[in-house]
């Protein structure tokens, strides 16, 4: 049975000539099922009878939490958009001393988890911290009782923290857009008499809208998912409310109900992102990518441009990183370097790397299955696979815990009954559940990125390869993998960094004696011994930098 010989020479990739289920489609469906399982578990939990609790949730939690969450999302979205788009335009449209450094350094905040950024600023900006101390010294005050700046534990503080740590998502997507489109735009607009600053407002920005939407959707979902930073900064968000409902009132159904309400909101976000990406795809494939010739800046203008570009790096990365280095050094002098920290580092890197591999394979399968056989089934699988990113990590963890533990128990009971041995908790006990959780959570990043990368490869390439006798898998290996390597690398690196930062699912699903850097950090922070956590935080950031720098390089290659 040689498919190639019986297949009619296609003028377009034809679905009908394919077997009903390719291995790629099967893998894609399996991935979708794996993500759907925890979501369905939560939905099921939400249906449980809670008596009067739902009325309490509606009357007292949702309005306030939704208002806070809305404000936080709005503020964060605005800052991330302004900073991300502005920075992307700055390094694309202008050339000045230091631009090369800015290009990749603008991505560095990706390495800093939001909760670390929050606690760093909380400490630095406290009335007892160096910043306020200097301000008082300048103004001639001796005690914080005489003069102090407004408390960062407020909505504006949270918005700044989230905005400046998450803007790289917008920067990344918008810059790619500017790089591929700018040359054509510049030429056409110049002929039409548009000034350079007019270019940005009248041409670049409107056309970058889809790319901005993609980035902002990621920013908003990250914001929505956060628990730690919001807790530090005293903001009662929906996720924080889910937490309270579940933990403090031991009310899983109530928590699941808020989670489902939130999910509906996030699905709307995904739809928006999809809608935006559809336009982006059209736009990018319609025009040939050619780099834009940037305007050379000199003297004071160049210094200003560099300063402007360096500002978000200083706030989103350099500030908190310096703080972490200083506290870590102080801590090592005070208490030394613990072996537990080393073990946690190894654990974190190992599990993150394994999870990244699994996620990339699934992501590839989803994107390729949709390409091989475009249709409702494969599209639905792709949408479902992105759902996990929308569920708060805490809730997703519970959604995974319940079915996985049930599986483990059944297997254990079966083995005891028929084989006379105990398998124990196979998936939970071995840490496989962690990889499952990361996969369910971050598959969206990989499948989205790979899909976007593949969409740039013309379908005529597939047809040529197939006509020359390659199988579907052969075509993937010899055509798609080389051509989508930048997208694959970028997806892999983003996923790896995200796995390293993940906290809530790791906390709940880890086996005995397993500490990751984030759980170690959380344990210390929960005690209020932030100083012990500084070292773990620093290692997370340090390991996170490497992929981010690599990411910047793949971005440039594209």
């Amino acid at each position: 049975m040689h498919m190639q010989t019986t297949m009619p020479a296609p003028t377009r990739v034809s679905a009908r000539a394919r077997p009903a289920m390719t291995p790629w489609a099967a893998t894609a469906f399996a991935a979708a099922a794996l993500v759907l399982l925890p979501v369905a578990t939560i939905a099921w939990a939400a249906l449980a009878d809670t008596g009067t609790l739902w009325t309490h949730v509606v009357a007292n939690i949702l309005p306030q939490a939704a208002w806070n969450t809305g404000l936080l999302l709005l503020g964060t979205g605005v800052i991330a958009t302004c900073v991300g788009t502005g920075a992307a335009w700055l390094v694309t449209a202008y050339d000045f001393r230091g631009r090369g450094v800015l290009e990749w350094a603008l991505l560095l905040p990706l390495a800093v988890p939001t909760y670390i950024m929050a606690y760093a600023y909380l400490d630095v900006l406290s009335p007892l911290g160096a910043v306020q101390g200097s301000v008082r010294w300048v103004l001639g005050y001796t005690s914080p009782r005489q003069f102090r700046l407004p408390d960062i534990r407020a909505m504006w503080g949270a918005v700044l923290v989230f905005g400046f740590v998450l803007y790289p998502y917008v920067y990344l997507t918008t810059r790619a857009m500017f790089l591929t489109q700018a040359a054509n735009l510049v030429e056409v607009s110049r002929t039409l008499g548009v000034s350079r600053s007019g270019l940005f407002w009248r041409v670049a920005l409107p056309l970058a809208r889809p790319a901005i939407a993609v980035g902002v959707a990621l920013v908003l979902m990250e914001t929505l998912n956060d628990v730690g930073a919001a807790q530090f900064l005293g903001i009662r968000t929906l996720t924080a409310s889910i937490y309270t409902t579940w933990i403090v009132r031991t009310d899983l159904p109530g928590a699941a109900q808020i989670a489902i309400a939130m999910l509906a909101f996030v699905i709307a976000l995904i739809v928006l992102e999809r809608w935006a990406r559809r336009r982006q795809r059209f736009a990018t494939s319609a025009q040939r990518a050619r780099p834009m010739v940037p305007l050379k800046l000199r003297g004071a203008k160049a210094v200003c441009a560099f300063g402007l570009g360096a500002l978000p790096i200083a706030i989103g990365f350099a500030g908190p990183a310096t703080y972490l280095v200083v506290s870590a050094v102080r801590r090592i002098e005070f208490a030394g370097f613990s072996p537990a920290l080393w073990r946690a580092t190894v654990n974190t890197v190992t599990v993150s790397a394994l999870a990244t591999a699994v996620i990339l394979i699934f992501g590839l399968a989803i994107a390729y299955a949709a390409r091989l056989r475009p249709g409702r089934a494969t599209n639905t699988a792709a949408r479902i696979a992105t759902l996990g990113y929308a569920v708060p990590g805490t809730v997703l963890a519970i959604g995974i815990l319940i079915p996985v533990a049930a599986f483990d128990r059944t297997l254990d009971a079966f083995a005891r009954e028929w084989l006379g041995v105990s398998t124990g908790l196979l998936i939970l006990g071995s840490g496989t559940a962690l990889i499952y959780a990361y996969t369910a959570r971050f598959l969206a990043i990989a499948s989205g990125g790979i899909e976007a990368g593949m969409s740039r490869v013309p379908t005529s390439f597939d047809q040529a390869a197939r006509t020359l006798g390659r199988s579907a898998t052969g075509t993937l290996v010899s055509v798609h993998l080389p051509l989508t390597r930048p997208a694959l690398t970028a997806a892999g690196l983003l996923v790896f960094v995200d796995c390293m930062k993940e906290l809530p699912a790791t906390l709940l699903l880890r086996p005995l004696n397993f500490e990751s850097l984030s759980t170690l950090l959380y344990g210390e922070a929960a005690r209020g011994t932030y100083e012990d956590a500084a070292l773990a935080a620093l290692i997370i950031v340090a390991i996170g930098i490497l992929p981010v720098v690599l990411l910047a390089r793949t971005g440039r290659a594209r």
Binding site: R153, F232, W246, A405, G528
Partner: protein, 338 residues
């Protein structure tokens, strides 16, 4: 010779498995706090202790794992969470003369499903320059403290336990009024941890803070660094009481898991945890109040003065926890300035 060797062999054979024995703890206690005590246990008995710190979701995890759960000992930092475990049938009764003779009757389950291990008082930190030697919990809502009080999130178990105890004393309506007063008195948003209370007093943000006693000990000990020592220099600890009662003390405790695979070692560890030696370590390492009457108070703890624990039975407080948490939502306790 040969018989001696074979006896030695048999003994060795008998002790070797014992050396490989282990006990698994699921705990909501931050590992840093108990690790030294667990290490001492391993050193003394040769039993390996494996831990997983599950701040949230302990119940869900044990419940989901069911009969296959490797958990032997379930340890919590909050009485409510401990009771939830017992109520969900996730613990099993333990009979032990050691435990029964060491842990006072009020601090353990008659059936042996749970035992208290230490107590942590909810106290008031007062700025050095504020003239205040005694205060009641009721006073905290007085107008005198408007804009001068720091407290962590009203949803934190330490606070819901305090609010629930208040409700046991005064009923629901009065508690709501009191909490509204407490909210009005806040100097900043109710967030952060208990140490932030001390830091914010040092920073002049507030004059009094509601916090757990042992943090004051930890900060004063200098073990957490010079910075925290400096915060603790700015505060005094005052033990508040209810108008018609004593100081509110939340207990940390543990019970043996229903499906414990190493039950014997779990009981052994429990007995060790309430022993004079371990309790002294508890007091010295964590500045908590021991449950074992023989154990001495750490000098730093003793310096706060004589404490009279409130005597409201825990069973009376428990039902109010959820209601307390709901009121916190209803009055927007955690939202500052609106």
């Amino acid at each position: 010779m040969t018989s001696a060797a074979s006896v030695a062999f048999v003994l060795l054979g008998a002790t070797l498995p014992a050396m490989a024995q282990e006990v698994n703890i699921y705990t909501t206690r931050e590992p840093g706090l108990i690790q030294p005590i667990l290490d001492a246990f391993t050193e003394e008995t040769g039993v390996t202790v494996n831990t997983v710190f599950l701040q949230d979701g302990l119940i869900e995890r044990v419940q989901a794992e069911g009969e296959s759960s490797p958990a032997d000992l379930l340890m919590t930092v909050d009485f409510g969470a401990l009771m939830d475990l017992v109520d969900a049938g996730l613990t099993q009764p333990v009979e032990s003369d050691v435990l029964e003779s060491t842990v006072p009757e009020a601090l353990r389950d008659p059936e042996g499903n749970w035992f208290a291990l230490s107590g942590r008082a909810r106290v008031v930190y007062v700025a050095k320059d504020v003239d205040l030697d005694s205060i009641t919990y009721e006073d905290l809502a007085d107008e005198e403290w408007r804009g001068r009080l720091c407290i962590r999130s009203g949803q934190h178990p330490y606070n819901t336990a305090l609010f629930a105890t208040y409700m046991a004393h005064h009923g629901e309506e009065e508690t709501k009024t009191w909490l509204e007063g407490l909210k009005a008195n806040q100097a900043r948003v109710a967030a952060g941890g208990d140490r932030d209370g001390a830091r914010d007093i040092a920073a002049g943000v507030c004059d009094i803070a509601v916090a757990n006693s042992y943090y004051a000990g930890l900060m004063a000990s200098g073990r957490s660094g010079d910075e925290q020592k400096a915060w603790s220099d700015e505060i005094r600890v005052v033990l508040p009481t209810f108008e018609d009662g004593g100081t509110q003390v939340n207990i940390t405790g543990a019970g043996v898991a229903a499906h414990s695979p190493n039950r014997e070692q779990a009981v052994q560890l429990l007995e060790y945890l309430v022993s004079d030696e371990a309790q002294a370590m508890y007091a010295e390492a964590n500045f908590e109040h021991p449950v074992n009457a023989n154990a001495e108070l750490a000098p730093l703890v003793a310096a706060w003065g004589e404490m009279t624990p409130d005597t409201t039975p825990l069973a009376e407080i428990l039902p109010y926890r959820t209601r307390a948490s709901e009121i916190v939502d209803e009055i927007g306790f955690d939202t500052f300035g609106n």
